[in-house]
Symmetry: C2
Subunit: 322 residues, 2 copies
């Protein structure tokens, strides 16, 4: 069994490759829900959906989110009503949100609903939202750093930052708000215990991995299992391939390089997989008490995804004696 | 100014005719919200929507609900997820529910949101939901009278009774549940005061008009203004044209005729407009202290709708000295 911690971007690409390298029923994906939010009364879980759509080959390959063969009838009519259309919801995608919201309304939890949707999409990987409680990512931002005339506060929800303001605001800090002591979804702790290796996917460590690690029981398990935790770098040649990671690193006073990522994750991971373009940082990484494995980590094609997964499942696992 | 009390069927047909006979900005439609419900997390207000769609010529003329030129992409995808598809929501229609739900979520009330949608649909009639509080119609039913294997209770919400179980259950009683003392929407009391005539549209008195009259301040106004209240019969030739009214009358121990309707409304209305086919009941109706006006009340075509409205606005208003 392999457990992968993931957001909705790079981590999902890795999962897609991994599911083609091993029995997908033996993969547990622990997915970030810090980006979940309610819009139009609908409970939307973007990273869970990207995982579902990607693993079922339904994701729109051009955007990297939403479904392929999508239509926009509802959004078109909502636009005429001058409704909120900054978060694009395709017609097929909407059905997922309607279904999830109704099931949650009837008292089922996010994990149960996710497994029902996974079944309908014929996904065999066990997708577990990190928690069925609410943990929400918020970003403290500098209001002078972007057009904030429509902004009511300098504390933005993830989707406001990411979609509405297109990552333009300068971030000063990130927090994960919760009203309770959030519990990991049932099955996560057992999966961490039983897994040969725990892989931190190449997702944004601050926005996709940290929300997962904000759940105390998960972080504690990773710390105690550090020897079998492998992190894959989301930085390639000193830059993030997509998304605001590079910009964010600078704003948070760090360098945009693999060392910053490694430093951030070195308490929970013992092996760090980096792109060949960053191999000059090997010494600095080993100084952080990390074993380093180098390969091509860019996953543009399905072949790339499988190659990275195969590399991790053979060479890296051998490196940690599995 | 004319105020019309209405549900989503016959009452709306009358409103449609009336809006073509007089300045539509001088018409106030007080619309039943007892059928409102939440499905998939969306706040759905069926009678308000039918009124909006009908008055803007957007209603599907074949079904009498939903919009014309409608598509069903979301429902199709929801069906594949085995979601709840018993209440059909077209793609264009869904935009209305998304818009309304989001605005309610932001703290606006149902009246404000309705007026915003009306503006977008270029509707000039002033559509007022009967209340911005929650009043919900429930039907106590006989579980032995229909296939109730999926039923959790013998108390059904309106939409369960009407759409899910297609009016099959035998009804033993009807109630309007509310957690508070519901207030009429702002503007209703003033409209009742200022109107030359108050018209109870040819809607189901038990399921569409009674919820409105369950609001104490509205009922009291109608009782005090009984002399200017005109009710249009929803019964033609002893039967309801559409919907469960005839069946319901029998189940509630009454006859399916205009007299039963008149008896039910005689405390709030002084004039009763009946179809020519029911003119033999004139004597029984006048015995209930009702003035009777007879015309063709069937409104299949736009011409019919205008004819009924014209009849009420000229002959019937003259009859009450307006």
């Amino acid at each position: 069994m392999i457990t992968v911690l993931s957001g909705g971007g790079g981590g999902v690409k890795f999962l897609k490759g991994l599911a083609q390298c091993m029995d997908p029923t033996q993969i547990v994906a622990v997915v970030n829900t810090g980006d979940d939010f309610i819009l139009h009364g609908l409970y939307i879980s973007p990273d869970v959906d990207s995982t579902l759509y990607s693993l079922s080959d339904q994701i729109n390959p051009e955007t990297g989110w939403g479904q392929k063969d999508e239509s926009w009838r509802v959004m078109g009519a909502l636009e005429k009503l001058e409704g909120e259309t900054w978060f694009k919801l395709g017609d097929r995608d909407l059905a997922t949100h309607l279904y999830r919201t109704q099931r949650l309304f009837l008292g089922e939890d996010l994990a149960k609903v996710t497994s029902q949707i996974a079944k309908a999409f014929k996904v065999k990987v066990n997708i577990l939202p990190m928690t069925c409680d609410r943990v929400s990512t918020f970003l403290q931002v500098d209001l002078d750093s972007f057009d904030s005339s429509q902004c009511k506060s300098d504390c933005l929800s993830f989707q406001e930052y990411f979609v509405k303001y297109k990552c333009n605001p300068k971030v000063t800090s990130i927090s994960f708000e919760t009203s309770c002591n959030p519990m990991p979804t049932h099955g996560i702790i057992e999966a961490l215990d039983r897994s040969e290796a725990i892989i931190i996917g190449p997702s944004n460590p601050f926005l996709s991995i940290d929300p997962i690690l904000s759940i105390k029981a998960i972080r504690e398990k990773l710390v105690s299992y550090r020897e079998k935790v492998i992190a894959i770098s989301p930085i390639v040649d000193g830059k993030s391939l997509k998304g605001p990671l590079s910009k964010l690193l600078i704003e948070l006073g760090k360098k945009s390089d693999v060392v910053s990522i490694a430093r951030h994750l070195s308490s929970v991971a013992s092996v760090f997989v980096i792109d060949s373009s960053d191999s000059s940082f090997r010494k600095e990484l080993t100084d952080l008490n990390l074993a380093v494995a180098t390969t091509n980590t860019v996953m543009d094609t399905e072949t790339d995804k499988v190659a990275v997964a195969k590399f991790v499942m053979t060479k890296v696992l051998a490196q940690i004696g599995k």
